[in-house]
Amino acid sequence: MVATATRRVEHVMGTAVSFDIRSSIADEALTEAVALLHWVDRTFSVFRPDSQISRIGRGGLAADDAEPEVREVLVACEALRAATEGWFQHEPAVRLDRPLDPSGYVKGWAIQRAADVLRFSGATDFCVSGGGDVVTSGHPAAGRPWQVGVRHPLDREEIAAVIEVRDAAVATSGAYERHEHIWSNRSSEASLLSVTVVGPDLGLADGLATAIFSAGTIDVPWLPKFPDHEVLVIDRELRLLWRRRIDVAVGRP
């Protein structure tokens, strides 16, 4: 069966992932995308002792013997750590109980993959969102882009900024989500309340947002390594700062 507009909320990975599909989609494609998220949860969760990530962390499983996707994620995390000069971390020195924790990348990566399942199945206009991280494709309605509201970090009622995006991913790291994955091996002087990254891939956007949040400033020297990303931060003085690098409209609500 093919539906013309579909909404679904799936509770997985410790959050609610919502699918908002405005174009036609085969039931099987959505089922497959949801199944993928549950597989990621089982395989990558740091809260499940039997997940491959937990087993690798304890030394009970060699990374080389893990699923290909696990190796792919660990390679990506390693690259992200190097590119961010250590601000992205997936091996928390401060968490002895959890020596391997790629959560800062995995959630975005998983949602991106779920979105890719929809896209490869022929869906054109949709949005997948989980725990505040978003993948958009096409248009929500004819002639207009997806409008992504950035929640105010201190006041849940308010939206601090609106970002218009086309076929882009948006990830936010901040004090307001239950970000167990935001910890840092380093400490920073400056600090931010919220970091939003817009880019082509949600895994990378999620990892970058986590890294910038940990670094505590938008003025990180390694940001130019990610030229196709827009970064918007809210600092402790409640100032909205962003570097405009790609064609993304940012407005105030």
Partner: protein, 178 residues
Amino acid sequence: MKKTVGLVGLFFVGVMLLLNPLTGVFGTAGVEFGARTDAAATDTAATTGEPPPVQNGQDSKAGELIDPSLTTSTLPLATTSVTEPDQAETIVTGPPVGTRFGDFQVSATIEDGVLVDIELLEQPGDRRSRQINNSAVPRYEQAAIAVQSADIDVITGATVTWGAYTESLQAALDAAGS
């Protein structure tokens, strides 16, 4: 027949917000970023280049032009038009939608095809969830009404509440054929 229905004093909704192509959808008359004010105006900040521009919401003025290459507009005051009594009114109720904290259920009031009110019938009861909902839900109602629900897309940095809320609302609207 298309009507603009004002919700006077209810959520300070400015239904004209959609007219601004950059900032319209989530627009809220009467709120400045970083500070609550009563002025029913807001502004657009947009910028290019480096160093990163700084805007302090408390210091900004409505209509202040940050970057001339992008539109900045002052939003109109919240409309004060009054709902006429003889309009066809339909109230539809969406199904409860489960979240990890409990169920959400809303009903929508539709007059002449225009969504004019949303009532939260059921919300999760535990303390943490209620804490979230007491503040989050009115904002969603406001946004949903202001944009006739179709233009609320998604919120980054949102909690689980949003998805369930919109899902129940959408089901109510679907049931109404809206």
